[in-house]
Amino acid sequence: MSQMRTGLLLFSPLLLVLVGAFVIPLILLAPTSFQEYQPGAGIAAGSFTLENYIRIVADDYYREVVVRTLGLGVAVTLACLLLGYPVAYLIVRGNPRWRLALTLLVIFPLMLNLVVRSFGWIVLLTNRGVVNNLLIDLGVIETPLKLMFNLTGVMIGLTHIYLPFMVLMLVAALQNVPRDVESAAATLGSSRLHVFRAVTLPLTAPGIIAGSILVFVLTISALVTPRMLGGPTYQVMATLIYDEYMQLLDWPSGSALSFSLALVTILIIWMSSRMTKRWAGLA
């Protein structure tokens, strides 16, 4: 039993930190989400209400924000998949001499501070920004296009930020596809497109799904990029939570929204891990 004692000794410091500063705080969020908020007075003591949860689906404004968040999740995931697949394909199947350089060029933005990357897009997309100036100088447009504080800006920013994750997942998946299988299909007379559709794509499906789930979950929980490129008016769930805690001080509403967001991400990850386990069992 001395092994168990050593184990406890090694494990308990981290366990204490995580229970004390992660698990308990999250659990304590639950009671707040069922409490009533009185403007000006704060949380009504001893109250119990489901209003904070009902509002998320029943109130027009909240519903708009939730639908927008989930819609952005789907759109950004699709964009990352479409843009990321060619890059992953080039890294794995292209000239081996380019592989390291391309991989590092994909990792580099990932390692770079998120705030810096979002700031870069602000410089590009703002009213007097690089893109608008360039288009006006070229005579394409006369008045600046609205590229920020709307769907365009948030979509570009989020796609740029989560694309590297998708590429890395797809690279891992493509590396598991034996070259021989593709060659065999080609030898048997399949066209390049047909080889891709019938062989490469199905074999990389687990990677596509894993990458899509990762990007979707990251997108719907993103705070920094939606706030920097969407501004205070174009809200998503994370920015609304931020405002409810920091500006409106409506903690009950904020915690109900937080719980809903966490629940969606946990459910999606749980379902996907069950799915992959089932697939692994079949293989």
Binding site: G94, F108, N113, V123, L163, L223, P232, S258
Partner: protein
Amino acid sequence: MIEQRPGLSITTIALLVVIFLQIPVIIVVLASFSETSYLTIPPQGWTLKWFEAVFTSSNYLAAIKNSLILAVGATVISLVLGVAASYALFRKMLPGSEALTSLLMSPLIIPSVVIGVALLQYFTLVGLRGGFLVLLIAHVVITVPYIVRSALASLSGIDLSVEEAARCLGANGFTTFRLMTLPLIKPGLVAGALFSFVTSMENVPVTIFLAGPRETTLPILIFTSVEMGVDPSVAAVSTILIIATVAVLFVAERWTGFHRFV
């Protein structure tokens, strides 16, 4: 045998996407050296005045200092606690190691903003709001999964007979770990520590709820200052971060073949 190689169109698209990934970086660097406060292409005149503004601003210097202390502190604590816990899991010293591993990784699954508000409410409740210690604990929570992930991955590649041999030759548990196991998992841990450092260094969603005015970190300062509009000194401090990132990535790649661990 017919080799399947990416065609010209795929290659072109892929290269354009890789360029797209670098665009904001290039723009930020150009803006930081540009004379005008709004960047034009091509830039009209070059200057270092925005960098001078950064290095003479007590706000920026304090934020950079806070960020570095926080990131180094959180990474060191995460390394010590995370490697110890991972080792206990790897050697199956505790029952239910699969559930315990999930617990250690769970801060990655919960959206950061939710962790942020949960901690804000909790620390307010226990009367610990504000202060550097609270931030440090929070950053350990969000960085430790990266350490655990890389530690477990590296440990699983170790041949257990190496440890047994050391034990047979009379080394005790800790000596065996220090002299045999640790050097074997070091490259993986360096990569994990780098991820941990970067995660702490760029965190906004947790930090912004917990940091008082005296604990403002660099990303928080940038995040809040862009609400007032585009300030070229933000571009300058961003360029400094870009150069630091390139340097760290270069050293890490040379040192450990970093791209294998991503």
